[in-house]
Symmetry: C2
Subunit: 410 residues, 2 copies
């Protein structure tokens, strides 16, 4: 069976959601728990109801729309992503996965198709983690990875409590934020946020898993001296030692995996005055790969480099691990369903790992999980220049829809 | 003629001033225009009056105490430094130069010595430049290097206007902040703030001049991408390019002069998030040397390195010159007077350049200028661990006093 997403309606629905929290530069500013988030949730709930779905909101604000299957005893196929955005983010990230799931249900309704398994659409709360950390928060609570009371108590930089904000926007539901039925599988459509599909001129991506990562911070403790009279050989410059390691972080991935990445995203220097030798500099590392051994090797390498740099510069070094995530391997049932769907539709596809985390990470602990990637022009995301052509959006959504039907068929 | 500073009274006076704005850790927190600054000024004015000096305060708060000479037509010998301190600075920096000048006058009074030239003690306003920039502000205004109205209008980070603050502490005088008499020479005692006297085990330093410097800022403009899915070869990481140049700034001095120094004291990264490749990084350079050609070579070298680093990383680079100061060469009359004084007193001395700026910089434009350096333990200054033994303080003060008398003798 081949279902066919209504391309015009799909594009129109994408454009409709993009107006809620839309920016003048064609992006989206729709932070979780904001008024724009409330507005898009209201809009989405109306779409679910119009499509004849049974709408529930859980205690953490995750929104579900349930469609009966021919065999209600068969596990439900969960489909979706998130409607929140980064500050001045793009209109595709997350939203396209939710809209594609909605369009699938509309297509099934139009063709009067009843699937074997029930189908449920989900909009996860706060995937982006901009105002409240961590990201993938709603799916993490639902999967039992995060404690709901701990997440409720979190505050933003202005001191606003998450639970209050969720109540304020009217989306603290009554259903427990845990799986309320038997689930068979989870499928998520998302933009790639990387350059591989475009570089290989491939229509859609069959996501085989999600890279794992190590995050941490290194602090160099030097001596704050006057930058004039202190000779070079008398200095213990925390920033020079930090700079040494930052250039090493750029090179470490070269000697490890083919897709290993390493980044310093954050740096803070004290006292940070043009005329004083920096006394204390803190900076971060982040390494990602599909292989946990490579991630661990990168972490060891950066700590070795930090020791060497500190010794060269005569400063003290300390470090702090901040986060570790194992790579996620998706289920064969899902990657095969996606690959078969692309083949049936005549699209070029390739298998690839996701370099970024997604709500699918948490689902993989609970059920068979997979993802479909749409091309991202220049691999850009998390800013207003994020772009995927409607043709590429449509091909990915259609692949997703057909793979989902496949999973929902006994 | 040899004058002899009263060691006990000199030490007691040093301790007295150190109590005004003194910190629990034995340092000094006496920012210009603060209440502590007002208090030390009141104390100092009383000492000048007690010593029989004619006290004047100029419009910019510079404080003078004048002592007649045998030949009032002979140019005045100006002696002093500054009583303001860095935040949590040391008790010697600046203050010792003012106290030594006061002790010289007291010694002359005690011995009923009349000098040929008049002698005048000065406490310059805001040498440190912590709350209002630039440093050496009062001496710069007085020397005509800075426009008084421009400096009056300056605001601190809280928006307080300098002129208001000067009025608030009661030290906006009525005498114009310009030389009001004929001056012969300027002599300043200061701690070295560097390690050379201690390293060579020498009692006092004959300062032959002050290094010049170049200050500027470089900004790297890269691309802010998600740190996960963006492959290493797709990145334009502004922080990696900056780190490259910061390590170069550490090495550039090695290939130039024997005492060239180079520093990055300030860095700012945007968006500064662990999970985003840095888009824009601004950092500073500072190079000092006794030779303007070396300073210019260092500046050219760092700009070349910035171009290369930007090219390697695929980022755009821009730069901004922030300050340039030519090296200052002190007058032979002054260096000879200091050297002779040390010899007469039986102290070991050595000639050296100052690596930091001092009020003497501005005086060198107007009259014969020189400086005496006292040893700084470990070369430390601008923090509470700044230390000079009372023996070393005394030797430097005595050298200063005798050199001053020499300059004041026809």
């Amino acid at each position: 069976m081949v279902v066919d997403i209504d391309r015009d309606r799909f594009v129109a629905t994408m454009q409709e959601q993009a107006e809620i929290g839309g920016t003048d530069d064609g992006g989206l500013h729709r932070l979780a728990f904001s008024d724009a988030d409330a507005e898009v949730r209201d809009w989405f709930a109306a779409q679910l109801t119009d499509a004849g779905l049974d709408v529930t909101i859980d205690e953490f604000g995750n929104m579900f729309g349930y469609r009966e299957g021919r065999r209600p005893d068969a596990g439900t196929v969960l489909l979706g992503s998130h409607l929140d955005s980064q500050p001045n983010g793009g209109i595709y990230d997350g939203a396209m996965g939710v809209v594609a799931a909605l369009e699938l249900v509309r297509a099934l309704n139009d063709a009067n198709i009843e699937t074997d398994h029930p189908i449920e659409i989900v909009n996860w709360t706060n995937e982006e983690g901009s105002r409240y950390q961590p990201g993938m928060q709603g799916s993490g609570v639902w999967a039992g990875t995060h404690d709901i009371e701990t997440e409720f108590a979190k505050t933003d930089t202005a001191g606003a409590v998450l639970e209050d904000e969720l109540e304020r926007i009217g989306y603290k539901g009554t259903v427990p934020a845990t799986p309320q039925r038997e689930y068979d599988s989870y499928l998520e459509l998302h933009i790639e946020q990387g350059p591989y599909l475009e570089a290989d001129d491939v229509d859609v991506g069959i996501v085989t898993g999600i890279v794992g990562f190590t995050w941490g911070a290194i602090t160099m403790h030097g001596e704050a001296d006057h930058s004039g009279p202190t000779p070079m050989h008398h200095r213990s410059d925390a920033l020079v030692a930090a700079a040494d390691v930052i250039t090493a972080i750029r090179r470490i991935p070269n000697s490890l995996g083919r897709r290993t990445v390493g980044t310093t995203g954050y740096i803070d220097a004290k006292p940070n005055s043009i005329n004083v030798i920096p006394e204390e500099v803190t900076f971060t590392w982040g390494f990602r790969d599909t292989d946990p051994a490579v991630i661990e090797a990168a972490r060891e390498r950066v700590l070795d480099e930090a020791e060497l740099a500190a010794e060269r510069e005569g400063v003290d070094v300390e470090y702090e691990d901040r986060m570790w995530a194992d790579p996620v391997q998706f289920a064969d049932a899902c990657t095969e369903a996606v690959g078969n769907a692309a083949d049936r539709l005549g699209y070029d596809s390739m298998r690839l790992f996701s370099g970024a985390g997604h709500d699918a990470t948490h689902m993989a602990d609970l059920m068979d999980t997979g993802m479909v990637f749409a091309r991202s022009e220049n691999g850009k995301s998390h800013n207003e220049s994020e772009f995927t052509s409607w043709d590429d959006c449509y091909r990915a959504a259609n692949t997703f829809a057909n793979a989902a039907v496949d999973l929902a068929t006994v």
